[in-house]
Amino acid sequence: MSALLEVSHLVKHFTRDAGLFRAGTRVTAVDDVSFAIDEGETFGLVGESGSGKTTTGRCLLRLIEPSSGEVRFRGENVIDFPKRRLRDARRDMQIVFQDPYSSLNPRMRARAIVEEPLVIHKLGARAERDARVAELFRLVGLNPAHLDRYPHQFSGGQRQRIGLARALALNPSFVILDEPVSALDVSVQAQVVNLLMDLQEQLRLTYLFIAHDLRLVEHVCSRVAVMFLGKIVEMGPTASLFAAPQHPYTKALLSAIPVPDPDAPRRRILLDPASVNRNAALREVAAGHFAAI
């Protein structure tokens, strides 16, 4: 297996302009983040709100322009691409957003939503596009008879399937899943997770799975990176990282997961901020398992 995507020293600053009563400030949302994703794997990016995981995902597609760093996709640095080249590259790199309620245009029929990427990239004649849209609908487990419905006529799980059909329209090899099931009902989450796993196998997809649900990440990801205050503090094979977390933040995070078992032993580990060395670099603590300690 070779790396499909290599991220090196990615940085994103946000500046807050000086206001009437305050000086301008600079926030480093993503702070020197490096990781690589192998072809065909599901790479998990976990962290709490404000940790920078969503910003990282968006920087990879340049939906947010990173401040510095490299994003190599199939060996080429996406950050250097001029506009037109970037648009072509995005055919191969897609994203599914968290909220299926706000990420679909309520005034567009499902057909138009799924077809839009094909239209933008001028792919196929009308009839071919129609056939492709119906095929995509079936692929994600929706009934093509419902293509002319509007988003509000679908349930949350079905809407997320529409978002997925749209992301897959251009046959991408890499898909960023940004909290793909967290807005869904518990009983529907498993359906969508299964669909994602089936599609990965069928279409040989590579996923970046951004999530805060650690139980789910443990289930679907082959490797995981843990973000804390803009930095990756720990990264490694899922089994190794969950079994033997090394960084104080990872330990606290894993111990906080509520276990759906009343008899499970609970040992809460609290994060002692003093125990975090903000300047520590990632070092290998076990095979392929790195921690900034």
Partner: protein, 316 residues
Amino acid sequence: MSAVNDVSFEIHAGETLGIVGESGSGKSVTALSIMRLVQPPGRIAGGRLMFKGRDLLTLDDRDMQRVRGAGISLIFQEPATALNPVFRVGDQIAETLLVHRRATRREARTRAIELLRAVRITDPDARVRDYPHQLSGGMRQRVLIAMALACQPSLVIADEPTTALDVTIQAQILDLLREMKSALNLSLLLITHDLGVIAETADRVAVMYAGRIVETGPVREIFRRPGHPYTRALLASMPGGQPGQRLRAIVGSVPLLDDLPPGCAFNPRCPDRFDPCTTAPPPDYAAGPAQTAKCYLHDPASRAAPRTTHSAPGTS
């Protein structure tokens, strides 16, 4: 359309009852009904609501106002919107004391600081003067808990108290609620969609589906021997087991309240469905020594019916 239908449960002194359900299952409406805070045109169409021997549905507005806050209090889901952004948090805590306890301003201020300290807010003397936006989400939720505890209620209703919070903060808030409950001998009604939160916090559980309580029982029984196929399927669908394996998903989706299927609302998704399920909504049957389930599988009269296996429901 009924958002909540024929819901009955009891909470004992010092007990935590967890109500678990998905969106639209009626768990929040149940909470609002207890406080008689259902917004018109919604209304409580019938039933009894006994609190310490009095039926709250028969109280006039003034008496009900006394119960709210002083007898029963409510912690809302969204700490960002439940606090008033233009008042200092100390004043918002003090307000409940001024209203319900006729405390003087000075007493109320002192008590507000005490309460902030009780909910583990560091430097409460300074924080009492903060506005909500100056506090983090976890701190705001602590302030809301302090407000809920201000008048020493005997029952606290917490509606998704940790849903908007990160998991490490969630753990702290759940620990705090548990401590407060035992320190003050409170009864706690905890409403959540998260089975993990239920497992960690509740003594007894009520599982809601499509406006009804479909199963009740002690937390251990519910997780070990779920009596209702919905509870069973929900537990089975959780991630866990062999990584990378398909999850045991429940087919279909939650029905809309104005379009419920005939009979048991879960029957179109139920792997154990048999003849009676589509005829009428099932009543409560005993599913264990302290467990009830609204499911014909537990009807003693239909013992002859094939008791289907506990295996996974069909996958999608």
